[in-house]
Symmetry: C2
DNA sequence: TAGTGGTCTAGACCACAGC
DNA sequence: CTGTGGTCTAGACCACTAG
């Protein structure tokens, strides 16, 4: 089984990426259903006029995303429940916007401050080094969802409350030429104290999901540290884990 | 900069894997420090007598793990904080054992039961289908750490309380020939009810981290559903996320 | 036995970064 | 300009699975 795929050799988009995206799209639309067997790599390569390594690279990307599995001697098969993976390198803002859940943001703080020890350590700076600190309350459909605290080392892109109220932080950083390529996250849980409860319109003692994240650009520099709390009653994280 | 690497062409271990492991080991031991520039792919390939694609495949694995970054026109660089990633496709038991934290397990239930609707849905079965249910209390260094509930569809490998008290579930499944290759997880938080609090030696209302996981083998069959709670005061999850 | 994916080679051209 | 990683080719041999 093979979805209809067309490759454009004049496009600047890599061929393997064009193939991967079109197979992924076929899975999303249901043209390829869970359990379906994909044509062999050789067959796909011949039918598209590509080499086998190129096709293999395309399929490899889908395997990494947990959308399909390969078995030697058997073939390549579509996995059930190919839900979109969350916990990609995107912001909560982008996630909400993509799923049509009207994100809104209140900027509670935007200031240049001496880095707290925890933030400084995460960013690889000495405590007290000047950094830009941002605290935001993220709402979705009117409901408070998360309190997000971020620390940005200098040089920092131009940030205004206005921009932060309409754009996700990652989008702003990306447009400022900061290319985040890897992030390390620690996920835990806690209960709401009085201040957190008030902000999030929860009761004291309500369950909160916590996430700390340090993000690096492609030069290995830490470009952002975030410490966020989410209302567990309204939010959870999804992860797809693959072996090999 | 290049760590000392030796490849054994007579070994059944793939060459790219040998190279990747030895570079990773050099990073772990500090022979390669954060910020160090790796030799170019061509240089490494020549010095090892391998082709460039093979070396590239090795480095690609490390990039996927968030240990290094590649920049076109610049080179390949070691990232800071090369902590081992958690949230791999391993069991909590294995994680604890690897870090020397003496896991112990109490089997609270091991029985064949009709699947609850939630578990049946996750496994793709009709509610009430007979499944094997396991409930375990996992301890580390004497302290309760997690309550783990698992549902296994038939055919189920032979399970005994004795085996489950000394081995992780994933290890048992692996030895029974069940090769888990992809899992989808949902992570959230809740507060402890009276029963959970008693088991985990926490107060009622204490923060708990929740994880639900459905695991698939390489034929796309759901082979396990787990619903686990962890003491947030003793446990958190780590994830490394990479772009591209 | 035939067909699959897993690995590997020895090249090639390109875009990009830094000098 | 040189050197880097990013992409791509056209083969090859192998281990494994299924019929």
């Amino acid at each position: 089984m093979r979805p209809r795929i067309e490759v454009d050799r004049s496009s600047p988009i890599p061929l393997y990426f064009q193939v991967a995206e079109q197979i992924a799209e076929a899975i999303r639309t249901g043209e390829l259903a869970p359990g379906d067997q994909l044509d062999s790599e050789v067959q796909i390569a011949e039918s598209l006029g590509l080499s086998r390594p190129t096709v293999r690279q395309a399929i490899g990307h889908l395997v990494d995303r947990g959308m399909i599995v390969r078995r030697r001697g058997v073939g390549t098969q579509i996995l059930p429940m190919p839900v979109r993976r969350e916990m990609e390198l995107t912001s909560l803002h982008d996630d909400l916007a993509r799923s049509g859940r009207a994100p809104a943001t209140d900027v509670l703080l935007l200031a240049r401050v001496p880095a707290e020890p925890e933030a400084a350590a995460a960013l690889g700076l000495a405590a007290g080094t000047p950094v830009t600190k941002v605290v935001r309350l993220r709402r979705s459909q009117g409901e408070p969802l998360a309190v997000m605290r971020n620390w940005l080392p200098e040089p920092v892109p131009p940030l205004t409350e206005e921009v932060l109220e309409t754009r996700g932080l990652y989008e702003v950083l990306r447009k400022a030429g900061i290319r985040i390529c890897v992030a390390r996250q620690r996920i835990g849980a806690c209960t709401a104290d009085a201040e957190q409860a008030a902000l999030l319109e929860e009761r004291r003692g309500a369950a909160l999901l916590t996430m700390e994240r340090t993000a690096f650009d492609d030069s290995g520099r830490a470009v952002e540290f975030g410490s966020h709390i989410y209302r567990a009653s309204r939010y959870s994280l999804e992860v797809t884990v693959t072996e090999h």
